[in-house]
């Protein structure tokens, strides 16, 4: 891993955040298997370093973040209440959307987290719109616009890149290249697999970056976020990571699109193990302390799950709330 100037406290923070996300995501899978969450649920296991590195480079409470349906980690890093996130994932009244959204549709607008979207590519212009809004008002906010390698083929994404460059929107497009779009491998869906080049035709600054070494990610992210804040122009990055889990909690057929050997090989890139190795080697943290931290978050995740589970299901009468701001729709069957 890269030698760096991070303080021991920051190093511990990144480690803790990655461990915390993984514990939370493992709990989400368990909740799904127990039938306490339904529909589609997608975990971030294996990809933790990307969100940790990038979101720690933001001014939390000021900057904006938007992503697709693989959206549990981002709000947690922005200070959202994990119990309210888990309650939403379980479809409960105390969730951020009172059970209306679910795993794919988490939002904490107050913290600057704008979701949480289920249509592949569909949120990418919305993210550019957030940047449009802040620039219009003369604010120096930065928007992180996360999307997948599969989403990077969407027509609306190309339209968005053109306008973001044309209108110099302070938006960072982060293509998380985890090598798969559901069951389709990168080379079967993209004619040119170097997705960073998507920025080239629009004259947008673009780079392909690592997404597994949290310290490297953090360094790149800080540099680029600072540049975008200062210059108020868009930037595109392709971040190389890997999804260890199936596409979603319902995907039990990973063997249809990748081999066991390939998965085993990918495990060597595990961002958490890599960080542990670094912390040990540089005498930042002992094996015992890391063990204690991992246990701490196991217990924490259990507590989060229990607290969320204590929240009631929404009342059927709530079904008409929030269709409009100022009226109710036609009611009844």
């Amino acid at each position: 891993m890269k030698p760096n100037q991070e303080s021991p406290a920051d190093l511990e923070l990144y480690y803790r955040q990655m461990v915390q996300i993984r514990a939370f995501e493992n709990r989400c899978n368990a909740v799904y298997r127990a039938g306490k969450a339904g529909g589609y649920l997608h975990v971030y296991i294996g990809m933790e370093a990307t969100a940790v590195g990038w979101i720690n480079s933001l001014k939390i409470g000021w900057d904006y973040v938007i992503t697709a349906y693989r959206d549990h980690a981002h709000p947690m890093l922005m200070g959202s209440d994990p119990v309210k996130l888990m309650a939403e994932i379980m479809g409960r009244k105390d969730g951020y959307s009172h059970g209306k959204g679910g795993s794919m549709h988490l939002y904490d607008i107050e913290k600057g987290f704008f979701g949480g979207w289920g249509i592949v590519g569909g949120h990418t212009p919305l993210g550019a719109g957030l940047a449009f809004g802040s620039k219009y008002k003369g604010e120096d906010r930065v928007t992180l616009n996360f999307l997948g390698d599969g989403a990077a083929n969407a027509g609306v994404f190309f339209e968005t890149l053109n306008m973001a460059a044309l209108w110099e929107l302070p938006c960072i497009f982060i293509i998380e290249n985890n090598e798969f779009a559901m069951g389709t491998r990168l080379e079967y869906h993209a004619a040119d697999t170097e997705l960073a080049k998507r920025g080239y035709p629009f004259g947008m600054k673009h780079e392909r970056l690592d997404g597994m070494d949290v310290l490297q990610v953090r360094q790149d992210a800080k540099r680029i976020v600072d540049w975008v804040r200062k210059n108020q122009k868009p930037y595109l990055v392709e971040v190389m990571n890997y999804r260890f889990a199936g596409h979603g909690a319902a995907d039990n057929d990973r063997q249809l699109y990748r081999t066991k050997e390939e998965e085993d090989k990918a495990q060597h890139r595990d961002p958490i193990e890599r960080m542990e190795h670094y912390l040990l080697k540089n005498n930042v943290m002992s094996e015992e302390k890391m063990e204690a931290i991992r246990e701490e978050y196991e217990t924490w995740a259990d507590e989060v799950m229990e607290k969320a589970d204590a929240s009631p299901h929404p009342d059927p009468s709530e079904v008409y709330d929030h269709v409009y701001t100022d009226m109710e729709p036609e009611k009844g069957h």
Binding site: G99, I119, H189, P329
Partner: protein, 326 residues
Amino acid sequence: MPTVNLTYREALRACIIEEMEADQNVFLMGEDIGRYQGTFRVTQGLFDKFGPKRIIDTPIVEPGFTGIAIGAAMTGLRPVIEMMTMSFSILALDQIINHAAKIHYMTGGQAKVPLVVRGPGGAANQLSAQHSHSMEGWYAHTPGLKVVAPATAEDAYGMLRTAIHDDNPVIFTENPGLYGVKGDIELNSGFSVPFGKARVARQGTDVSLIAYSRMVSVCEKAAEELEAQGIKCEVIDVRSLLPLDTETIFGSVAKTHRAVVVYEDWKSGSFGAEIAARIGEQCFDELDAPVARVGGLNVPMPYSRVLELECIPNEANVIEAVQRLS
């Protein structure tokens, strides 16, 4: 000919295989339909059988691949494209409505678009607001398209054949809740079900329940319970929305003098509302009560199972509507 008991999903697959074997111009396109065997496994095994030339995995670009299929159809190919869910066909509305549906007319009959757009439509289990749309009403509103929604495995098999043979763009919607229902299928028989012919799913004399897709079985169950209360319901499976078999529908209403139209789509402005309007216009003298409708609640589909179940019409809603008429 061997008769086999197949699920709706297997029946679709069997028809696809037979049609692909019969006609080299038939090919499939869609997301994760090949190597991944299809999200709902309708296309399982087809990639191995027919290879990548005819079973084409696309990027996640519904407008793009739909447009390419339309163009290919204009050259005489017969594409059958899969929408992973019909909700994603919203992205391709421009290609389907503004292009495919207009081509034969705008070219004054010079060009044809023998295209099938198929996939699961409607709510499943907590897929939330962006993945639960019933799209058939949007399409059945559009002149130039044909729209079908089979409720049984037999009809899935027979109507897909008709769709593939049709020279017009056909929207073929499959409720995800139906993939497991079984039926007896006579393979390699060329069995087909013509469009524009409704099916009388249950005979009755007191009330006509008019539905399509998964709501047919909801009506059948409601009819059973109502029978116990002495109310004999006739269940009409519309199955083809455009063209619509008004003859069978009006005939049933002339017999029962009462009609309830049942559909999962949002209640307001749906195709079910169109059916109700036609009955009101054409059967006024036959009716002993106003035409009733049972539809989905007019809200984006909520994630919570409690709220979701509130939105989707069920047997109790149908029974209540019938009782209100009697």
